[in-house]
Symmetry: C2
Subunit: 294 residues, 2 copies
């Protein structure tokens, strides 16, 4: 599959299997955007955490992820262990073969590729009590979602997500989301990105049968910042869903949580759509030299 620099966007490299790379000024733009998100996180005194993209199947079952989002989940697989199966896999996928991978028999799958960055935070805090004071954490993660379409910088099967996650009680969660929404709208204004905050629902697989979907419709807990029809940020009130699922409490009560999530490649795309591909016209302050160590 041929991958070459995109004709349209200097510095963007991709092919239709989902391979996406950023080079030169485009990478500097992506890093500068994320630095601003880190700056927002610092306004909330967020501590930084970092998680790899493998989550256990058990942990996602705990939030009934596979029932609600079977069409989105991606998981890492490998050929069945054992000489015979590995020889077959090697033989079936030699250099002369064409087309999709010939998968054959696979080993047991006990992990899933993270669909969002914040899961690691909740999983990592399982069975703890955070005490009285709310906490804020920021994480950046590589996320994977099975999508029926692929457009680089818009809809990618693999993308980077920055999240600011608030952990507290019902009232601190509301305060956080209101304040965060204001700060994110300010940032969109500063970068001259015309965008609107809209009520959204998560893309449940079978909404008619999903009690969670009904709940989400009745009590909207997800807002999205939408530019050109594309959600570039979301504001999510999880109520005590993750607190219950992972037995995390706040002074003895199930923890309430919320997050603000940014699709980093989508912000890069938003800047390009609005301001073009000439770095001199971007409203985002890049590092003085994109090639110098940070």
């Amino acid at each position: 599959m041929s991958a070459s620099p995109s004709q349209d966007i200097p510095g963007l490299v991709w092919n239709r299997s989902g391979f996406v790379g950023l080079t030169g000024s485009l990478l500097a733009l992506s890093e500068a955007i994320d630095r601003r998100f880190l700056g927002l996180a610092a306004l909330f005194s967020a501590g930084r955490q970092s998680f790899g993209p493998l989550l256990s199947v058990d942990d996602l079952r705990r939030v009934d992820y596979f029932s609600a989002f079977p069409h989105i989940v991606m998981f890492p697989a490998c050929a069945a262990r054992g000489e015979a199966a590995l020889h077959r896999f090697a033989h079936d996928n030699g250099a002369q073969v064409e087309g999709s991978l010939r998968v054959g028999e696979t080993a047991d799958v006990d992990s899933v590729l993270a669909p969002a960055a914040c899961y690691g935070v909740f999983i990592g805090m399982r069975n703890t009590d955070i005490g009285r004071s709310p906490r804020v954490v920021t994480v950046r993660g590589t996320c994977f979602r099975a999508e029926s379409e692929f457009t680089p910088l818009v809809r990618q099967p693999c993308f980077s997500m920055r999240e600011i996650v608030h952990l507290g009680d019902e009232s601190s969660v509301s305060d956080f989301l209101a304040r965060a929404r204001g700060k994110v709208e300010d940032l969109a204004g500063e970068w001259d990105l015309p965008a609107s905050v809209l009520v959204a629902t998560d893309p449940f697989f079978d909404p008619a049968r999903s009690p969670k979907y009904l709940h989400a419709r009745l009590f909207p807990t997800k807002l999205e910042l939408v530019q050109d029809g594309i959600a570039i940020a979301s504001f999510n009130n999880h109520r005590n869903f993750f607190g219950q699922a992972f037995e995390i409490s706040c002074s003895g009560e199930h923890l309430h949580t919320a997050c603000v999530a940014f699709g980093i490649e989508r912000w890069v795309g938003a800047i390009l759509r609005r301001h073009g591909s000439d770095p001199a016209r971007w409203p985002v302050k890049l590092e003085s030299s994109p090639d110098s160590p940070c």
Copy 2:
């Protein structure tokens, strides 16, 4: 699956499905280590690039990856598209189910989870000529390898790799590797990590049948920096292998390439084994405040 802060290492969160997270000072250590690697890259005037971890099956076939490393390759899979298959996947993996994921019928697999960070560089340069001057690029990527064992910070199915990649001719590649080796040995010395450079071979699946293995044995092109029996860096002379595979040239000749690769989590582990878990005893300079924006 229970994930909780490790009893042994403050700030490390993991469970045996391959889930690994770094928090607090441990994350700051990991970031400080990578900043030093970026500093090394800057000595070679490396430009920065960044690639997501999805590589096309076609591109890995081009380097005969599946024949040489069928036991290592991991690929992203998802349930077959279509209502019936998705309903079955959802039903088979409900909240009450236990054990491994019930995979069922999967959609076609056209991408692979990157086993190393440098592939993106070569794939992105396919069908180009770099002209006369050698170039150096640095990339950090999330990498995946099917492993029979899992030890956090030592042998992870998913880990972070920093690479410094040199692109040029036979002689510039040799010069780069010699100079890079010296710089990396100096860094290990500065951080008081007793380590040795040893000749290594890539872990071919079936060495006896692999002409590449024979070639690698006859003309060693891989060295590893080994501490406590664990390779924390490797120095790889690819000769013109990737230049041929991806039709990249250097003044009309097939490009020669080399890379220095660092397993970031392994360096974190190396510092902890040598200096303990108290940040005050680490020889690596952390940011003044690990929670401040970088």
